[in-house]
């Protein structure tokens, strides 16, 4: 303490001496130059007289500007609009006034010649809040950002070792007088890494600044407000537009994969237009689909189900609230985490007008296709598939066997093809190159207090099979208006229309199930293929004239016909809009009302033509589903912001109302007279009409209070409580309170941590909080007659209405409690930064669909019946490895590990095997028999004792009782939850070139693979198979050479436990993308009025490392029916700015 005091005194004295010396210098200069010279004086010397009452900061600055030559420069959003100054000063130095303001408004001033640069200050040491720099000789230049190649305004340019400096203007240009050629210029700006350049003989020095990865000044959305990252107490991760855009994905969510610790993002199918699972800190929902674990998405304040419909290029920033202490302010809504999406525009728009165009076109090629059986191999498989089950499995003669297998009478063509090994490549017939493109135009404009932003985008994507694609238009509009000092208003709207064609749900499946001897073509009477003429059922091939079977194997529909004649088209409109009105009656009070609304409408039409599987049995049929969802939120908030000495307070009161309303209607018919897609459902016979519509509405009413308190810039406390009432819960149990408290300790501000290059920043965080969930269908607590039953009395219909589920009159909130410890650090002048978080979250009273005892006559009830724990660790680390004017290289790593366990069910520590839920195990645990090989011929006796035979799948007799039974021999085999995930990104810039590489790894995924269940299903004789090296063939009299296998059973004599074969490790490492960009030199593009032009090539998913044999390990856990093959996308694009 003593030491500090001494230091302060010495520094003050030094400042005084410098100040005096400067004054003397300038005095001399002034005298020498004469009176016509532009006089630049220190704020310490220029005196003013002011009397301000209840003045805003802008008014204060304007007052000074009126009396002096000084001009203030600052970023609008850094200035607290609510601060009000009362100050009287009579003929005293400007500096005195500035220091007074600096105390009140936490600001720092820096005079550079006549420019006074204003910054936010976190510095409790008063004298650091004013700096004066006045100088002499001339260098000019422009500072541009490596991020967007635009000029950077407000960059401090200082001659190293002096206080001599200036700031760049709006375009990033500067003029500075320096002492001599040996001078070194330092360029620094908050949010950017500093640069140093030796002046030498140059008179023009252009500098490119890279964004500073530490970004402590970064503004983070925390729910009903923002905070600087350095003031955060909770666990919040962010991704900016650059991170999102550089990945080149058509879905913003996909771009976050691996980039943010603690968030698992996974594609379920690989199909165009399908959603991603977005999971923060593990799953807490035991039942329900994956979407039940999706977080709350808040786009510009509007709640939406997902952000799939946004154009990634429109997104300015995504902030993800991971821990309960930060989520608690969202109380009821926050239990799966909250994802804030800010679209571009709003208050952050810089002055002037700028236009940017970003576009790319990508070619999507299939990749890493699993090897399937060759015709020869499949023929052998097919033969061997008949041994086990014909003639009781024994003693076929070669002739009998040939008769049985080939069944000459009705399989003549198949026999021919067998003999000629005439195979057909279904991959080749069905798979195509796809494409994707995204073009986005953005116009920003600011003029004083008014700003607007406009974004228009068009995305197009097609899949790797025909009749599958997406078209999307997006329109974004933002405006911001400062009416006067007290009133401010703004509005933001995002509209998107999408058309998604999903084609036939069977197409892909059927294509790869057909065996290689079946071709899509019809035949003539001689059995020769008529290439080009598609045949409905290739496995039931007939001669045209006689109608006799030429092949009689399988009824599978021709996938090419299925693809061409089935449609599943969704046309969707998403619109969100929000407006706010802000009123600052007195300096320390801000009132804000925000009204936001979200609208979703889609029409999903399905149509099956005559030549599809469904059309064949039901006739031409179609259905249309219309869905509309409208929700609005009205938030009224009051903020009290006050700093008293070293105490900073920010107190928030909030009242929020949310109403969600959905309407759904569906109609369908079958047996239509002509093919009109789904555009004439009424053309079908009236007797097949099926009509239905429904309505759903729910309301939430909430109150919240939150206090942020900072002492001395070092000790941070956030405490909040939210009360929520939900219409969906039972009478008397609708309300719940969600408290939270979080503490932060800025260790690096402490004196016992000496200021050094090694430790630039060190902060400890602790958070505790509760969040709730009421994710249950409305009307679950009331016995609602929501199910129609059908009957008739001798042809007179007699409908009935019953409740589908038992109503729960005691349904209440599900509550998650979480503890989070975090450490943020910055080292080596922020060259290394990162954070570590540890958390433990327990979800209690989880609302799940409890299966009821059969005697009740009901299947399910929504009950508060489960307890799930997620705990884990998250690490993120960013390093700036090289930073020179020409070369920068940054890398970032993320690591997340989460352990998920079911703690109790229905109030007891007993597993619910029926539902697959095991106490102490993950929600996603795989529970089954354990594969132990294939019963070999020498083991026949032992096999028989297990009711098995040679060639059957053998599973482990876990309890060694000589029998396999469900109760004792099934075990936890593993879990679909990854044991850990990690991401790595490298960004290298060399001169005008940039090279980015990102990779993502998911480890320890163990899953039942539907793909394998289909393609190594040895109980089937007629479908295509994965190219397995061997399978079991016993010795036989039918002339098929025996084969030993300990991995795959005897075809069609597999035994009962084949499912044990289908569990696979689906861990993987993906190189997500490699992009190479080149920015054209300014000298080239300047002439044509272009500010910045970058061209790039980006390869998505070029390499995947995995042991998984199916289509793509990422969607190994998903449904096989709609899954698609892997692909590699090569994009070419450009970024353009005017």
């Amino acid at each position: 303490m003593k030491k500090t005091l001494t230091k302060i005194i010495i520094m003050s004295i030094r400042g005084l001496i410098y100040g005096t010396a400067l004054q003397v210098f300038f005095l001399g200069f002034l005298l020498a130059k004469g009176s016509e010279a532009q006089v630049i004086q220190s704020v310490r010397d220029v005196k003013i007289t002011l009397s301000l009452k209840n003045a805003s900061l802008q008014e204060c600055f304007a007052a000074v500007e009126r009396q002096t030559d000084y001009r203030f420069s600052y970023d609008h959003y850094l200035i607290n609009k609510g601060t009000r100054i009362n100050y009287q000063i009579i003929d005293r130095p400007v500096s005195e006034f500035l220091l007074a303001i600096s105390q009140k408004a936490n600001l720092r001033f820096k005079q550079i010649n006549n420019n006074i640069n204003v910054q936010r200050s976190s510095n409790s040491k008063k004298e650091r809040n004013l700096e004066v720099v006045i100088q002499g000789v001339t260098v000019t230049g422009k500072v541009i950002s490596s991020e967007d190649q635009g000029g950077v305004p407000g960059v401090n340019v200082i001659v190293k070792g002096t206080t001599n400096g200036t700031v760049t203007d709006y375009e990033g240009k500067y003029t500075l007088e320096v002492p001599g050629t040996e001078s070194v210029l330092m360029f620094s700006s908050i949010g950017f890494a500093s640069e140093e350049v030796t002046v030498g003989t140059q008179s023009v020095i252009d500098v490119t600044l890279s964004p500073d990865v530490t970004a402590l000044e970064e503004i983070v959305v925390v729910g009903y407000g923002t905070q600087k990252r350095e003031d955060l107490t909770g666990s919040i991760v962010s991704a900016d537009s650059k991170m999102i855009q550089e990945r080149g994905t058509t879905n913003a969510v996909q771009a976050l994969q691996g980039q943010v610790a603690g968030v698992t993002i996974q594609n379920n199918s690989g199909r165009v237009g399908d959603s991603y699972n977005f999971n923060i800190r593990g799953k807490s929902k035991i039942s329900g689909d994956n979407e039940a674990n999706n977080p709350l998405f808040v786009v510009d304040g509007v709640i939406t189900d997902n952000i799939d419909w946004l154009n990634p290029n429109d997104i300015a920033k995504i902030d993800i609230l991971k821990d309960a202490s930060s989520q608690a302010i969202y109380g009821s809504r926050g239990s799966n985490g909250v994802v804030f999406v800010q679209t571009k525009g709003g208050a952050n728009i810089p002055s002037g007008t700028n236009i940017s165009v970003d576009t790319y076109y990508g070619i999507k090629k299939t990749a890493r296709l699993p090897e399937m059986m060759s015709p020869e191999k499949w023929r052998r498989y097919h033969y061997s598939a008949y041994l086990g089950t014909t003639n009781n499995g024994d003693g076929l003669t070669p002739q009998e066997y040939n008769d049985v297998v080939a069944n000459t009478g009705s399989n003549a063509v198949l026999l021919d093809r067998f003999n000629n090994l005439q195979g057909f490549d279904w991959y080749d017939a069905v798979l195509k190159d796809g494409m994707q493109s995204n073009t986005n135009v953005m116009i920003n404009h600011r003029n004083g207090g008014s700003a607007y932003s406009l974004g228009i985008g068009y995305q197009k994507e097609t899949g790797n099979i025909d009749n599958e694609g997406l078209d999307r238009f997006t329109l974004r509009l933002g405006m911001d208006q400062e009416v006067n000092d007290k009133w401010k208003a703004g509005a933001q709207a995002n509209i998107s229309t999408s058309t998604i064609e999903r084609g036939s749900d069977l197409a892909m499946r059927e294509a790869f199930r057909l065996n290689p001897f079946l071709s899509p073509w019809a035949i003539d009477d001689n059995g020769n293929e008529i290439v080009g003429e598609l045949f409905n059922q290739p496995g039931k091939l007939r001669y045209p004239t006689s109608g006799d079977y030429a092949i009689n194997k399988t009824s599978t529909w021709n996938p090419l016909l299925e693809i061409a004649n089935a449609s599943d088209e969704t046309r969707q409109l998403n619109a969100i809009g929000s407006t706010y009105l802000q009123f600052t009656p007195v300096e320390w009070i801000i009132l804000k009302s925000t009204l936001s609304a979200g609208y979703l409408n889609y029409r999903r039409g399905k149509a099956f033509g005559e030549r599809t599987n469904s059309g064949n049995s039901k006739g031409i049929n179609s259905s249309v589903n219309n869905y509309t969802n409208f929700n609005f939120t009205l938030d009224n908030q009051v903020n009290f912001i006050k700093s008293i000495d070293k105490h900073d307070f920010n107190l928030l009161f909030l009242q929020s109302t949310f109403v969600n309303q959905a309407e759904n209607s569906e109609f369908s018919s079958s047996g239509q007279p002509f093919e009109s897609g789904f555009q004439n459902v009424g053309s079908g016979p009236q007797s097949t009409y099926n009509l239905g519509n429904s309505f759903e509405k729910s309301q939430l009413l909430s109150y919240a209070v939150r206090l942020n308190y900072t002492f001395n810039g070092k000790y941070l406390i956030t405490a909040s409580n939210r009360w929520d009432g939900s219409s969906k819960l039972a009478e008397g149990l609708k309300w719940q309170s969600f408290p939270s408290v979080a503490l932060g300790w800025q260790l690096s501000e402490e004196n016992f941590i000496p200021e050094s290059k090694w430790i630039s920043n060190l902060k400890l965080r602790f958070g505790y909080g509760k969040v709730g969930n009421q994710a249950v269908k409305p009307y679950s607590s009331v016995s609602t007659l929501d199910q129609q039953t059908y009957y008739d009395f001798n042809g007179t219909s007699a409908d009935g209405f019953i409740a589908s589920n038992l109503a729960n009159e005691n349904l209440t909130w599900e509550v998650t409690t979480e503890i989070n410890f975090g450490l943020d650090f910055g080292m080596l002048d922020y060259r290394i930064t990162g954070s570590i978080d540890l958390y433990n979250r327990l979800t209690d009273g989880q609302i799940l669909e409890q299966t009821l005892p059969k005697e009740t006559g009901f299947e399910k009830i929504f009950a508060n019946a489960g307890e799930v724990r997620n705990k884990g660790v998250e690490i993120s680390l960013n390093t700036v490895n090289i930073q020179t004017p020409n070369v920068t290289w940054e890398t970032s790593f993320t690591f997340s590990k989460n352990t998920n366990t079911i703690e109790s069910l229905y109030g007891k520590k007993e597993s619910d095997i029926g539902n697959g839920w095991h106490i102490g195990e993950s929600i996603d645990a795989e529970f089954d028999y354990k594969f132990a090989g294939i019963w070999q011929s020498g083991e026949a006796t032992e096999a028989a004792s297990y009711n098995a035979e040679e060639g059957h799948v053998k599973v482990e007799d876990i309890n060694n009782d000589g029998a396999i039974d469900a109760d004792n021999d099934r075990i936890i085999l593993g879990s679909k939850d990854p044991s850990w995930t990690g991401g790595f990104t490298s960004r290298l810039t060399v001169s005008n070139f940039d090279l980015n590489i990102s990779l993502y790894t998911v480890q320890g995924v163990f899953t039942y693979s539907e793909w394998h269940a289909n393609f190594i299903d040895m109980s089937d004789r007629g479908r295509q198979k994965f190219d397995v090296p061997d399978w079991y063939i016993p010795s036989n009299g039918a002339g098929v050479e025996p084969m030993v296998s300990n991995q795959y059973p005897q075809p069609r004599n597999t035994g009962s436990y084949t499912s044990a074969l289908y569990y696979k490790d689906a861990s993987y490492l993906k190189i997500q993308n490699i992009s190479l960009g080149y920015t054209l030199p300014k000298s080239l593009v300047d002439n044509v009025g272009i500010d910045h032009l970058r061209v790039f090539v980006n390869i998505i998913n070029p390499f995947v490392f995995t042991d998984y044999e199916g289509w793509d390990p990422e969607w190994a856990t998903g449904s096989y029916n709609v899954s698609r093959v892997s692909n590699v996308i090569t994009q070419f694009g450009l970024n353009l700015k005017f």
Partner: protein, 542 residues
Amino acid sequence: MKKILYIASLLIISLSGCNDFLEEENKSNVSDAEFYVTEEGFQSLINANYSQLREIFGQDPFLFEAGTDLCAVGEGRGGEPLGLSEYAELTPSSSDVDFLYNNCFKAIQLANTGFKFADIAGATNQQIGELHFFRALSYFYLVQTYGGVTIIDEAINEAVTEFDRNSAQEVYDFVIADFENALANVGDDTYNGQVTKRAVNHFLAKVHLTRAYESFAEASDFSIAASYADAAIAGQALALDFHEIWDPKNDMNVETLFSVQFDPSSTNARLGYLGSQQQNFSGSYLGGSEVKDDAPYKSYNMIATNYALSLFEEGDIRYEGTFMMEVFDRYWDYFDVPRANHGSLNVFYFYEPPWFDAQDSIDYVTAKNPANYRSFGEHDANSGAVSNNYQLIICKKFDDPESIFAADGTNRRTSNRDFILARLAETYLIASEAYLGAGDAGTALDRINEVRGVRGVPDFTSVDIDVILDERGRELFFEYHRWFDLKRTGTLVQRAVAHHPQINDASVFNGNNGELKILRPIPQEALDLNQNKDFQQNPAYN
């Protein structure tokens, strides 16, 4: 300050009325308390009770027919649950064991919901009677299948997780009381789809007959059964030709006492999901969707055993009435072409009847020259045949030629044929069995010969239980009675071992504790979900 007041008042406004704000608004549905108290609402609940019958009957046949002397799995194409058809692997987790347990308890809850609202809704006697009938019918099937189960006589309106077991005797008492209440309340109109007194009499006869074989039988059960059966017959003689009874358009014939109704007017709303699938069973696979319009979908389950076919003698019109002896070019030709013109059609498959001798075969081939001739012994479940299409004889009684082709596993409920639960011929056979049990063999003979007289076969001169069971086999083949008939009469083990091709040894019935696997096990899932861990499994499975 003024402003602060203004803000405060704004907040107060937004706070007030918050109770109203959180009320749920449901525009598309009503609650039970609002709807079931009205006349229309209560009738809709009654309709829902009827609709539940469609879930119990006309769906999976396995608990009703599998593992008996008449039906066995066709070789080569599985799908028939092994446990239920062959007993050795019958466990509480075997597939389909839970079928009646789940569906009957649903029906019971629906009936109890009816009783809950009956008073307020001002239910009619007919409606009260129907509710008693549904509940009794469900418990009757439960007690025969699983033994004693939980008696629930009130609607459940919260998550009850513990249930006790009642004894079989208590359940029978409950069933009889319910049926008697039904009888007292329902009307006596001509059958039009609703429960009538005759139908209730039929079931009361059957309940008493069934209980009569139990250890806790009342001495009078047989004679009470006989008198209820006579009451159900109500003096009506059998008059219809067997073909007429099973004509696809004649489900509502005068001999139907009660049936589960199916009609396009109520099943087209969800094609393939609301109909019956009775027609899909008992026969060879006939091909996939490529045969649509030519043939129905058949699943290769519940194939007639050699014994079932051998029961028929020459002249018995029921053989041709039950089985598709001749398949013409198209399967559906049998129905689409008038019977009188069948003689002119090409025969594609011919399935030889049991009574053919060598000369009959030669005569038939000479006359009809069928493309495929299947000799007797080669087209039944015992033949060990390969699973080729049309390999085995097909039961055609339930075919609906107007149904769409059952495309796949999820929408096979395509038939609009009514599921006949009680018809007059069976009532005669019940009467015969009841009189026999009551010691009146003469009347027993009269009743059974009433059936034989109209089927083209000579009268019996004496009657015993085996004679009656065989006659039931001929008359009621695959009408979802057989397992109950054998279980009731204590002949299950003996007949299954004697005639079911996959059951060759009585030891397959050996369960735990020296008990035979006669009763089905309480489904494992039901035990797992019941938190009363003292709820006993049936001894053979314990």
